[in-house]
Amino acid sequence: MQLTRRHVLGLTAGAAAFAVAGVQITPAFASAEDAEKLIMDFTGGATAAEGKISLTAPEIAENGNTVPVSVNVDSAMEGDDLVESVIILADGNPNPAVATFHFTEMSGEALATTRMRLAKTQNVIAVAKMKDGSFFMDKKQVKVTIGGCGG
């Protein structure tokens, strides 16, 4: 086959179309499974029970770029009744991880507040890891009306 200008152009167009299609196939947003996987990595396969931890986030966020979120874990923060860390996930963001808090006996109370970005309406999940090896989790749905990660 002789390589003519026409052939080369045709091939390039085809390759370009394929590349565009390839980009569109990759999901822009993480699925809930990715969040599940992160929870599994955090707990090491153990199931997280309900209770003890409470996650506070607004029901409706008018601006997805700054959504206040706070976690509070019911614990004496002494001896074995100690919260080691709390992971926060948003299952509809491009990357579900939001933050990981680490507490010590010096923290006094397992309570922390920060602000996060939410790309769209989704579930926000918090999982607490206790020193005795148990896990607790809480979940809240936050409705995002405008804005988000994209900027």
Binding site: T66, A90, A112
Partner: protein
């Protein structure tokens, strides 16, 4: 990138009291998801770790991901056993370290 951090720590407390600390630092927290006007992705640059210590003992730590808003804000608690100094450290993706201190007196 980041400007002077702002910290709110009470000036004094009673021994063993649990106090609330608030911190805010100005930082773009570029998520790595955005694109510039030519369609090229803007590289990620965020603060990836925040640490608070009291006289060399860790009080609170946070690993940050790109989903933390610009100008990261934290509110957390700390137990004050005696007079001392709270130290705050923010680590940037580019290797910069931002630091701040706040003394507290036990009455």
């Amino acid at each position: 990138m980041a400007s002077k951090p702002r910290i709110k720590v009470p000036k004094s407390a009673s021994a063993g009291e649990v106090i609330t600390i608030k911190t805010l630092i100005s930082h773009e927290m570029e998520s790595g998801q955005r694109k510039d006007k030519d369609g090229n992705p803007i590289p990620r640059q965020i603060i990836n770790k925040f640490t608070c210590t009291f006289d060399e003992q860790v009080v609170f730590e946070c690993d940050l991901d790109p989903a933390i808003s610009a100008n990261p804000y934290f509110e957390f608690n700390a137990k004050v056993p005696a007079s001392g100094t709270f130290k705050f450290t923010w680590l940037d993706d580019d290797g910069s370290v931002y630091e701040a201190e706040a003394p507290i007196e036990v009455k």
